[in-house]
């Protein structure tokens, strides 16, 4: 029974979270804290924190976290499947339409019009991350600017652009650098 409730709650979350990421937070909050009282408000704030700190989409992280809390690993799997189903159905329909009408003048124009919009959206997401990263509090922060963060950013960009390094390796390297720089400074001070 709890499996069915979890499935139904995350099916609704999957269906109504449009826009991705933080746009899904209010719907998750409504379902999990108010509708079903599975988590307290404090626990929910914790879910948001973990979702920020770990890889993967926020809604999927929430599904796994809440599912595990309430019904163990099985609950996590059920909640995840519930969340994914609506987008699988809708995306499949859109993909079939896309394949069928791709070469129509107006559709082609609409898609070409959307491409620069995607660039703008990625830039907006990048700005959010850059602000978070460059102005974060740490042992390397002078005033409000995190010097180490800017240095790591510049170094990573150089590796990506000039040396064509693999992004995953660059990110792992940045993690190691973060540990060395922030941890080292913490020990020195």
């Amino acid at each position: 029974m709890i499996y069915l409730e979890l499935f139904w709650a995350f099916l609704q979350i999957g269906l109504f979270s449009i826009g991705g990421g933080y746009a899904a937070m209010p719907i998750i909050e409504q379902q999990i804290v108010y509708q079903n009282a599975w988590l307290t408000m404090t626990e929910f704030a914790d879910v948001v924190t973990i979702a920020e700190m770990t890889p993967g989409p926020i809604a999927l992280n929430a599904a796994s976290f809440v599912g595990t809390r309430i019904a163990g690993i099985g609950g996590a799997v059920i909640a995840t499947i519930g969340f994914i189903i609506p987008s699988c159905v809708i995306i499949t329909i859109l993909l079939l339409l896309y394949k069928k009408y791709k070469n129509l003048g107006a559709v082609n124009g609409a898609l070409r019009g959307l491409r620069p919009a995607v660039v703008g959206m990625i830039a907006a997401a990048a700005l959010t991350i850059i602000k978070l990263s460059f102005f974060s509090k740490s042992s390397a922060t002078i005033g409000i600017v995190n010097i180490a963060s800017i240095a790591i950013f510049a170094l990573a960009f150089l590796f990506l652009k000039k040396l064509k390094a693999k992004p995953v390796l660059v990110m792992l390297g940045c993690g190691v650098l973060g540990l060395l720089v922030y941890g080292g400074l913490e020990l020195l001070i």
């Binding site: 973990i50 992280n61 796994s64 919009a117 995607v118 959206m121 790591i152 660059v170 990110m171």
Partner: protein, 189 residues
Amino acid sequence: MKRDFKLYVSLFLSTLKLSAFTFGGGFVIISLMKKEFVEKRGWISEEDMLNYTAIAQSSPGAIAINASLLVGFHIGGFLGAVVTVIASALPPLVLLSIISFFYTAFRDNMIIRYILMGMQAGVAAVLFDVIIGLSVSVWKDTKFFAVIIAVFTFVLVAFLSVNIIYIILACALAGALILGKRKKKNDIS
């Protein structure tokens, strides 16, 4: 490309790797997918990738899941879509289930915090690199139209928090009206 067992295995492993290292939401994974599937493996054209991003963005659910479904279907048909969706849902599922058990210890661990701070700067650099690459390609396609749409979208999303759905509809309409009639010079589709 041949749709054999080897293709599905490498599709699964690539997507799994991307999902496991994607900090910071849907657009980060899309940027990494572009690097992996368009630039490194050449499985998808850049044009299709941008179109899929727009479709993934305009449907409900997590952008990362939507995008991996589209990419998986493009590369390996129905089975490919199943493979990529499972591969992208698996890391958050496993990781968050574990964290859900050890949350308090994880949240207060300084070593993990330092690593994550370093990785955040790395993610920003990856996004920056991808934005530069995409800007060049949309500029080649639609010139000043692209500049106006990209800047317009960036400002509306980053500073005015306008709902992305409206922006997508507006840009698609603008594209259909302005670019719909004239055929692209070197049309390859």
